[in-house]
Symmetry: C2
Subunit: 627 residues, 2 copies
């Protein structure tokens, strides 16, 4: 019992509990300090999602291409170039959003404001879906980096992924906004080691090319063609690779976190991030192809791990650092969703499209419900798809590209409305962005549909209907509770009080005493399930009942609640708005919680039965046992 009431006992705020141990003491509202980020820190905070996708993007392109046999692999390079071009377009497009929405221009806000409710909700549904997928994909890929370095862990990948999701969830429930510095370490470590690997690799490739000095090449795995090299297959490979673009929008959501001048700093950070992303993605793709490294479906070793092992040498410290940095940045990428999902949910809750609970700030100043929901949903995905990145990829990025298209279209619309100086060029840039991402979205929908994208495309309208149903309900409630249309209720002239009793004991007398203090029209009722006991109750009532009338209600079917409901319905004249009926329920409260199970739960049934009847009040009168 003690533990349950802990939260409500003022004296015990600081007492030990598992909850406090895990997520920390409550923080007061005044403790919400906004830490402003320098560009260097901001890159670390916002870039992990985008940069980390280089850990799997090249591999996912190749995994599709090898379906047409090993010789199709050479297409990876032109596809990577196409994706890089797309990235440049998207980055320029978002750079404009940053300047237009210096207070934060997430896709939902931009779309809602410029294109209206339904497109806005579509963007929101698409984004929330992709946040869940980002966690599942990133954590799965992070675990793959770990199991590539230490293969015996491969069978435990689902458990490991769930552990990491749980850990991130817990950290976010504690609140990790003080984490700019913490973020910086793995992100810069990843950038540094990745650039070191690409530099070393390029140098060795150059030496190989120019001097003809033989390099020990890894054995090239040969794949038989399972199908022809169709345009569809090439577009599917392109779609898989577009996962590299996810996370590019992160900076435009978080502009207020930058040091002033916010918009300028954010835009510069975006350009830096895009440059790094293109460098790393193209570098990995180029070197893998040149060194003949292809995905290995037997050992489950990732492409980046194979590349790192080849360039740095098997068992070298640099190789292990690469794997560690890859794993950490992927887990950080998942963490990004843990701040984006709850924030977008809370914005939707504020706009009354999501349950109000998603807008509640927990006692650690975070949107706890959003964090927990994201943790549960992404864990479910990991279990369903068995922690395999490749199986999740067909679902991934569909939502992101839908939201890209919508938000860039919203920007175009905005330029046409505002017509600020130079709007034509800006509209053109956003228009190209919208067009390019829109085409890619359609390519996604077509090429990934049967591989899993159908789930996302089916889910988004369901999600939107949910938003709208919630919104309608809140509007209904607000209208019905509104004071505008109606005055105060009439004063109560007649107050009837009913005290249901099962026996005559001290708890009953306390309730009766209370009943007599609130009205002079009190009736006790005894539901007779066993006629042999009635006489005894009547006799006791005569002695202790304080002169109050006792009605005996027969219950031929032995139900305790039904005769009481029937009685109250009879005495409650619904036409009289100035009359109320109160049921005063004697309740004894045992000391130990399990003692409750030893008593009939009639009070709960009575509450449930009357909650749905108009105008009947139910008062609990507790009588505390002390043993």
């Amino acid at each position: 019992m003690r533990d349950d009431t802990l939260l409500y006992e003022e004296e015990e705020t600081r007492k030990f509990s598992l909850r406090r141990l895990l997520i920390g003491d409550p923080l007061s509202t005044a403790q919400a300090i906004h830490e402003r980020l320098t560009k260097v820190k901001a890159l670390a905070v916002f870039a992990s999602d985008a940069l980390s996708s280089t850990a799997y993007a090249t591999e996912e392109i190749m995994l599709v291409l090898i379906l047409a046999g090993s010789q199709a692999i050479h297409l990876a390079w032109p596809l990577a170039l196409a994706i890089a071009t797309l990235l440049v377009i998207v980055a320029f497009s978002y750079e404009q959003t940053i300047h237009a929405y210096p207070t934060g221009g997430g896709a939902y806000i931009v779309t809602h404001e410029n294109l209206g409710e339904l497109p806005g909700l579509t963007a929101a549904a698409a984004l929330l879906t992709d946040y869940v997928l980002t966690v599942a994909v990133s954590v799965s890929a992070g675990v793959a980096a770990l199991t590539s370095a230490y293969p015996p862990l491969y069978p435990y990948r689902v458990a490991l992924a769930l552990f990491f999701i749980g850990l991130i969830m817990l950290l976010n429930l504690r609140g990790i906004r003080e984490s700019g510095t913490i973020f910086a370490i793995p992100t810069y470590m990843f950038i540094a080691i990745m650039l070191a690997m690409l530099g070393t690799g390029l140098y060795r490739w150059y030496v190989l090319k120019t001097t003809g000095v033989p390099l020990p090449m890894p054995p090239r795995i040969q794949y038989e063609a399972q199908q022809g090299l169709t345009l569809f297959l090439i577009l599917r490979a392109f779609s898989s690779g577009c996962a590299a673009l996810t996370g590019v929008e992160a900076i435009s959501d978080g502009i207020p976190a930058f040091k002033p001048p916010e918009a300028k700093n954010a835009a510069q950070t975006l350009i830096a991030m895009a440059s790094l992303l293109i460098t790393m993605f193209l570098g990995i793709t180029f070197l893998s192809y040149q060194f003949g490294i292809v995905p290995n479906e037997m050992t489950h070793e990732t492409l980046v791990s194979q590349l790192g092992r080849f360039i740095f040498g098997d068992g070298s410290v640099m190789y292990y650092l690469l794997q560690a940095a890859t794993m950490l940045i992927l887990i950080l990428a998942a963490n990004t969703s843990f701040s984006d999902f709850p924030r977008l949910s809370s914005i939707l809750a504020r706009d009354r499209y999501m349950p109000t609970q998603f807008g509640n700030i927990g006692d650690r100043l975070v949107f706890s419900n959003g964090i927990i929901t994201l943790g549960l949903l992404s864990s479910a995905l990991v279990v369903i798809f068995q922690g395999e990145t490749t199986r999740l990829i067909p679902l991934y990025a569909v939502g992101v590209f839908l939201s890209f298209t919508l938000s860039q279209s919203g920007m175009v619309r905005r330029w046409f409305k505002l017509r600020t100086p130079g709007w034509q060029i800006k509209a053109a840039i956003n228009g190209i962005g919208a067009f390019a991402t829109g085409v890619v979205f359609l390519v996604f929908a077509a090429t990934k549909f049967i591989y899993g994208a159908w789930m996302v495309l089916l889910w988004i309208p369901v999600f939107i209907s949910f938003f709208l149903a919630v919104h309608r309900h809140y509007q209904d409630v607000a209208r019905q509770l509104s004071l505008e249309s109606t005055g105060s209720p009439p004063p109560i002239r007649r107050h009837r009080v009913v005290v249901p009793i099962g026996d005559v004991h001290r708890g009953v007398l306390v309730a009766l005493n209370y009943a007599l203090s609130i009205s002079d029209d009190v009736t006790a009722v005894y539901v007779e399930t066993d006629p042999t006991k009635t006489e005894k109750v009547l006799k006791k009532w005569k002695a202790w009942g304080n002169g109050v009338r006792l009605e005996v209600l027969p219950s031929p079917y032995r139900s305790l609640v039904r005769p009481l409901v029937r009685y109250v319905t009879r005495i409650d004249d619904r036409r009289r708005r100035d009359q109320v009926v109160t049921i005063v329920l004697p309740q004894f409260v045992p000391v130990k919680w399990w003692h409750r199970l030893l008593h009939n739960q009639t009070a709960i049934l009575i509450h449930a039965a009357f909650l749905f009847r108009r105008e009947v009040m139910v008062t609990d009168v507790p009588f505390h046992l002390h043993q």
Copy 2:
């Protein structure tokens, strides 16, 4: 919503619902008619448990013996004779109980009355445990009869057993006391076909013996000795075979169900049952041995099925009738526990050793909670032991023999107390019964211990502690609620009412109106989690608050409940017994149940927080939405 309240809506008693479809309309108390049974019907009702055990008892003896190799099988016959002798002793002993307790002398009643509380509870714990095992063993053996006739069903035995348990549970929740005739058919069918098989078998054996005409004998399966033929093994085989004795006590529990003269009719039925049981058990054991039939661990075919197939011929109608009758009587045997377990539980609940809910008579005039509990526990056993009779046997009958011993000892004690004419002989008979069953119980405990009996022996004391803890709690409650030690509480002189509000709307005004009708000392409180909203609430309150004071409670940690608890604690002077505080909670009730999820569940938290504080009343004031 509709479905949940069905039970409480008077108009809807007869409305369609799944519950009504499955278990039928409620029955009124007046509909409880007692059907008196003739001896023929009574044998059918009470004998199924005892007779059905012949379906597996011989096999269980042999399964232990073959551990010492096939040549040990010949010991089955002398062991069966020993068990038959024990049965005669037990039957005579119980015959005396019947005459001494003509209103029903179950082991708990006899032991409790003559030996005291603790032995009585031991008998009760032992019996309840064995009822659960009876269901698991009988249904498993019944399913084995079915899968022996149709082997492809063997892999589905657990699902089949669970289906049968569910079916029996459902029938018992409907109430099947009108079932004397229904019981008669499978029981007499089983007796008839079993006797027919034994008669045919004996005739063929006789022909074989005397004329030397060769009989096509089934191939005798040879078992290698895995261990020596020790006394321990022989006693273990004996213990397994004693499962044949379970159910012998059933008649002495149900004497009032007989037509008058009840005791005489019951005693004669007991003798008839014991004779049939001995005939069938010895017959099966004798013929199996003579025809060289031994348990077949490869095909999972039961011994009785093999015997029937040999005597009646494979694929014959008689063979299939035998299997059908065996299955049916075993399921009937399980059904017996479904009346015994709830009845004993209700007696224990009446004596306040079990939670009072086990004494509730459901709307179909049955002890529904006992039935459901038994169904769940036996299903769990079936799942744990994978529906294999042999794995359950070591746990079985331990409890029965413990209760036999206790109740026969109780009878001895009784004769010494009463000293009615001829008491010495009666005491001697019960004494022999008590001694014999006591020795067998010790043999059980020793030989079956490591094979599973330890679970039962460990469980029984746990169960007794539970009985005693429950009893102590009920006594504590009765003492604390007693009116003897204290008078009526003092009349209430000061009544403070607190109305917590989150906003000012129609529901709040209804609650405020109610609060003003029960006291003139009303305060509204607003817990301030977001200071930017406070101004608006204060302004609205000024317009609509009816002049009532509004206190703003700061909540730095954004908890809604804690500041309220703190406030109430401050105003509630616990030293003044004539003062009460009521919290009047405005609650709006949505139309659809899922709409509830869209609102903060603060009301529930407030209820939970105050239920454990002395003297604070909580009143729900519902405001019904209509959309």
